[in-house]
Amino acid sequence: MHPASSVIFFTTASGAGFGIMSWLCVAILMGHYTLTPHTIVMGVIGLVLAGAGLLSSTLHLGNPQRAWRAVSQWRTSWLSREGILAVLTCLNFAGILALYLTSGVVLPWMAGSCLVLSLLTIIATAMIYAQIKPVPRWHTKLTVLCYLGFSTSTGMAVIASVSPTRYHVYLAFGGLVLAWVFKLLWWQRASRTSLSHDGSTTATATGLTGFSSVKLFEKPHMTQNYLMTEMVFEIGRKHAARLRQIALLAGGLLPFICLGLAIMTGQTAGFVMLSCVMHLIGVGVERWLFFAEAEHVVALYYGKS
C-alpha cells in the first residue's frame, strides 16, 4: 500500500495526542483533581498534536473541502466514526482544560467520558486498516493493539519529557515495552501472512481454478495506474528489513536504554527527552513500513502470487 506521508504523520501525531489525553484523564480519575502548569502544557500539546494530525489527514483527500460530510456514516464506516470520535474527544478535553482555567474545577465524569472517547478514537483509527480484508497483514486484531500500544507509549513519552518524574519515567518505560511486544507479535504474524492468507490466489482471482497453473501474461496497459501506485506499491520494499531494524533500534531499543539510564542515574530530563524524540521517529518509520509492506490482493491481477 502507498505510504502517504500525510497519513503517516496523522496516525503518529494524533495517536500521540490522544495518548496524552488518555493518560491525563487517567490521572484525574486517580484523584489528581488539580491541574498544574505542567499538566496544562501537556494537555495543550495533546490537543495540538491531535488537531495537527487530523488536519494533515485531510491533505490526502481529493476534495478536502467536503471533509465535513465524513461525519454522517457512523453506522457502518470506521472512518466516519473516527472523525466523529476525534472531534468529540478534543472538545471534551478542551472543555476540561477550559473549565479548570476559568473556575479551577475538575469534574471526574468529564475525564471519564474523555478517556473512553479517546481510547475509542484510537481503536477507530486502527479499525480503518484492520477492517480491510483484501490486505491480509492489516486484517487482524493485533493491528488495534499496536495502535493502542503506540498511542499510549508515545503519549506517555511526551508527558515524561514535559514532567520527568520517577512515576512518569516508569510508565513511559512500561508503555514502550508493551507497545513493542504488540508490534513484534504483529511483525511475526505479518512474516507468515502471505497474500493468499484467506485463500485468494491468481486462480481464484480469475476463476481459472481447473488449471494446473495460471500466471499473468500481459498487463492491461504498459504504464502505471492508480491501482498499481496505490495498492501494488513496491518502491523501497527492498529496504524493508533494514528499515525494520532502524524502527526497532530508534523506536524501541535506544529509548529503552535511555529510559533505563534515566531510572538508574537519576539524570532524568535529558535522557527522557532524547528517548521521546527517538521513539517518535521510530514509530514514524514503523508506520511507513505498516503501509509499504502491506500487500493488497488486487496485486494478484498484476502478476504477484
Binding site: M1, H60, L61, G62, N63, P64, R66, A67, R69, A70, V71, S72, Q73, R75, T76, S77, W78, L79, S80, G83, I128, Q131, I132, K133, P134, V135, D198, G199, S200, T202, T204, A205, T206, G207, L208, G210, F211, S212, S213, V214, K215, L216, F217, E218, K219, P220, H221, T223, Q224, N225, Y226, L227, E230, M231, H296, V297, V298, Y301, Y302
Partner: protein, 261 residues
C-alpha cells in the same frame, strides 16, 4: 447512505465469457469513451501524450497464461492457452466499498443492485478502493473523486436511445459477443440460464463479497487437439510445403521457373 439495502429483487449485472473473449480491448475503449462524457465527471488522463501516460479506466483487460492438467492432475504445458480476462465492478451484494464510505457517497441501489458513487459527496479518501479486492475503483486524479463502473446506468434506462442500444457500452461494443447484460436475480433470464448451463462462477468467493457479475469458464479443448494425439494427426507441414503438388498452369509455371533457376 452507506448502509447496504435489503437484498434487491432485481440484480442487474454482466456475464463475461472467458471462452469467447479475444482480448481486443474494444469494451474498455468504448467504456472510456461513453463514461468520459456520461455519468459524473469526465474520466481524466494524466500525461496523455507524454512518456508515462495514466488515467482512470472503469474496465481493463488482463491476459493470463493458463496451463491445463489431465485427469491425473499432470500439467500439460504444450496445451497452455491465453485467457483474456476483462475486469470491471462486480456490483457485489455485500459490497464493502459501500459500507466503508464515510460520507454516504458510495451506495448500492435497492431497485436494481447497481453500486454507484455520488460524485458531489465523494471526498476522494480512497478507502473504498482499498476495501475492494477486485481493484474495481480508480481515483480520478483531475476531479479527486472515485470512479467506477456504473453499469452504464445512463444508457440502460435512457429513453432517448433506441431500445436495442439500452445496454452497457462494453456489452454493445463487444465484437465477439463475450459480454452479456441482464437480471441475475431472475433465474429465467438469459444471463441466469447461461450461468447455470455453463457453470458460471464468482471471482474470489473467499473474500465474501457475493459479486453479482459472473464469469463463464473457458471450454476444455477437444481430445483432437490434446498433446498426446497431436504429433500423429497434424501433417508434417515442412515436407508438405516442399512437396510440389501443384497442377495446371501454375504448376507448369512453378516447375519451369524452378528449372530455369
Amino acid at each position: 447512505m452507506t448502509m447496504l439495502p435489503p437484498e434487491p429483487t432485481k440484480k442487474l449485472g454482466l456475464v463475461i465469457d472467458l471462452d469467447i473473449c479475444v482480448g481486443c480491448h474494444a469494451c474498455a475503449v468504448n467504456c472510456k469513451e461513453w463514461n468520459t462524457g456520461g455519468y459524473g465527471n469526465a474520466l481524466s488522463d494524466q500525461d496523455a501524450y507524454g512518456s508515462e501516460p495514466s488515467g482512470a479506466w472503469l474496465n481493463r483487460i488482463h491476459s493470463f497464461e493458463a496451463v491445463p492438467m489431465d485427469a491425473q492432475g499432470t500439467p500439460q504445458p504444450s496445451d497452455a492457452r491465453i485467457v483474456h480476462f476483462p475486469k470491471s465492478c462486480l456490483h457485489c451484494d455485500d459490497a464493502p466499498c459501500v459500507t466503508v464510505c464515510p460520507t454516504g457517497a458510495s451506495y448500492k441501489r435497492a431497485e436494481d443492485g447497481i453500486v454507484l458513487v455520488n460524485e458531489d459527496h465523494c471526498i476522494g479518501c480512497g478507502l473504498c478502493a482499498w476495501s475492494c479486492a477486485y481493484g474495481a475503483r480508480e481515483m480520478d486524479r483531475a476531479s479527486g473523486v472515485m470512479k467506477k463502473c456504473t453499469l452504464c446506468v445512463d444508457r440502460i434506462y435512457n429513453e432517448n436511445l433506441p431500445v436495442e442500444d439500452r445496454e452497457p457500452a462494453c456489452v454493445k461494443s463487444c465484437p465477439a459477443n463475450a459480454r452479456h447484460f441482464g437480471d441475475l436475480a431472475d433465474p429465467s433470464s438469459d444471463v441466469s440460464v447461461m450461468v447455470a448451463s455453463r457453470g458460471g462462477f464468482d471471482l474470489m468467493p473467499e473474500q465474501g463479497n457475493k459479486p453479482v457479475n459472473k464469469y463463464l469458464p473457458p471450454r476444455t479443448k477437444t481430445s483432437r487437439c490434446a498433446s498426446q494425439t497431436r504429433d500423429d494427426e497434424v501433417p508434417d507441414l515442412v515436407s508438405l510445403a516442399q512437396n510440389n503438388q501443384s497442377t495446371g498452369i501454375l504448376g507448369w509455371l512453378d516447375r519451369t521457373l524452378d528449372a530455369i533457376s
